[in-house]
């Protein structure tokens, strides 16, 4: 076999096979732009809402790592809210302390836990040399009003120490309704801190978006700067002959649209990220066994995409 087609690492070690990679989507790019805008304009909070399974948690992880790379001094935390019968200040602060990686047990008083949290956030920010603290709250639709009040206390205490807390509430579409209720109740102290900006987080919603995501597989490389894009790694001969995933985008999108119509799903087509990436992974992994310069361009991919989509649509 030509050296051109010899992969630089074993196939089992590739992040696509291990599902340890992250691919950007237009919604993630919009999320990223929103964060940049908030940090630049000192907008202290935004809510990002979307239907389940659209990849919101995945997006948090993506933008968190992206922020770490671009702003290494920034303090970044992520907490996940679980719905409890009765909101508990202890468990709320214990969750935040867990996000801040404070190792103490959560058996202390509420005041102690809050003090402990604020000191930890201040210490990390001081050590890093950036007065901006970013907090992502996943499943934020589970937050109750009283929990927003506790969060407001943290926000204000940090502000007293000249630190700026930027909170990104990420959750399901109920978040919008919660914002409306808070506005109707004149709870401006909450809305003005945590819900200034809004972003609708969507799945893949057009052929153009399909192509943009698929192009990331054609361009992203592993190992980094090796010249081995994800597409080339799995089908090196076909890639050398000119195959690019992005060129199959319209066909894949059409297949998803047909599945959507056949399943009689209401509303516009919106492909959850998880199913979209699964379709591409399946296509690449299976095509690797049949790699050849004449490999037909991702003919199998729409089929796999349809299989995933059908499973959801049913």
């Amino acid at each position: 076999m030509s050296l051109e087609f010899q992969r630089p690492i074993p196939m089992d070690e590739h992040p696509l096979r291990r599902r340890t990679y992250r691919v950007p989507t237009p919604s993630i790019a919009a999320f990223r732009a929103l964060i940049d805008e908030c940090l630049f304009l000192f907008i202290s909070g935004a809510l990002i809402h979307g239907r389940p399974r659209m990849g919101k948690s995945y997006a948090i992880e993506f933008v968190r790592r992206d922020l770490e790379q671009r702003f290494p001094k920034l303090s970044i935390y992520k907490m996940r809210c679980t719905r409890s019968q009765v909101p508990s200040e202890n468990s709320f602060f214990a969750t935040l302390l867990n996000a801040a990686k404070h190792p103490a047990q959560s058996s202390a008083s509420k005041a102690a836990l809050r003090g402990r949290l604020v000191h930890k956030l201040r210490q990390v920010a001081d050590q890093r040399g950036d007065d901006r603290v970013v907090l992502f709250i996943d499943e934020a639709q589970n937050l109750r009003e009283i929990e927003y009040e506790w969060l407001r206390d943290v926000h204000d205490e940090l502000e007293n120490h000249e630190l700026r807390l930027f909170t990104f509430l990420v959750g399901q579409t109920q978040l919008l309704a919660q914002k409306s209720v808070l506005q109707a109740q004149d709870k401006e102290q909450i809305v003005a801190r945590f819900m200034v900006e809004e972003l609708a987080f969507r799945g893949i919603a057009s052929g153009g978006e399909c192509a943009a995501v698929m192009a990331a597989y054609d361009q992203g490389e592993y190992p980094l700067a090796s010249g081995w894009s994800y597409t080339r790694f799995y089908v090196p001969q076909a890639y050398s002959a000119g195959l690019r995933l992005a060129e199959s985008a319209i066909r894949l999108w059409t297949a998803f649209e047909e599945a959507h119509i056949n399943a009689r799903i209401e509303g516009p087509v919106e492909i959850p990220m998880k199913y979209f990436t699964s379709a591409i992974e399946a296509a690449l992994l299976l095509s690797a066994e049949r790699d050849a310069p004449t490999l037909q361009r991702s003919r199998s991919m729409p089929r796999f995409g349809l299989r995933w989509w059908s499973a959801v649509a049913m």
Partner: protein, 193 residues
């Protein structure tokens, strides 16, 4: 189309492997070594640590490996270094082994009877958030820096201040347990709080 432009600058990236161990090295208590200076006593260092972390006395003693409580209250004498886990102190307080050693009295003056079991302090140093371990030596009468006589007891109510890691240090560090007066000025305490 701005989102598409942004997308072009963001590529497929490999995610880091998530560890299955929830308590890695980066899980740390809050330590503020920059709030202390060389020669500072372990009483002052632990008071500041307590401010930041709000742990119970039993959690503090477990954390720093202190054995043999002085009495039924579970208080631990802060004069001798021997009962303490010096490595844990250095690691958790984020200071050098030498700083830990110099935070105790009996490393340099191993005669227990010649050091005070009550806090002895220079009021000017305390205003700066500083206390030296050797202020506890009974042979030292004045602060060499300020020339002030070393004092005993709360400046306001005169209650004795035991030189121990006990409930008061854990629950109300740098504050009198009897009259609730702060031993450090508001400007400094607001920085700490």
């Amino acid at each position: 189309m701005s989102s598409d432009l942004e997308l072009a600058s963001t590529r497929v990236t490999q995610a880091q492997t998530t560890s299955t161990c929830p308590r890695e090295d980066n899980w740390r208590y809050t330590a503020r070594p920059e709030w202390s200076s060389g020669g500072e006593s372990m009483w002052m260092r632990l008071s500041k640590f307590s401010y930041c972390n709000r742990l119970s006395v039993s959690e503090l003693t477990d954390l720093f490996g202190a054995s043999h409580p002085n009495n039924e209250s579970g208080a631990r004498d802060l004069r001798p270094a021997k009962p303490w886990d010096l490595r844990a102190l250095a690691s958790i307080l984020d200071v050098s082994a030498a700083d830990v050693q110099s935070g105790f009295c009996c490393d340099v003056l191993p005669i227990h009877g010649r050091s005070s079991a009550e806090l002895r302090y220079c009021s000017a140093c305390l205003q700066l958030g500083f206390h030296a371990a050797w202020f506890q030596w009974l042979t030292i009468e004045r602060c060499p820096l300020h020339g002030l006589p070393l004092k005993l007891g709360c400046a306001r109510c005169r209650s004795a201040i035991p030189y121990v890691l006990g409930h008061d240090l854990a629950a109300k560090p740098l504050t009198c347990a009897c009259c609730a007066s702060a031993w450090i000025p508001p400007s400094l305490s607001s920085a700490l709080q």
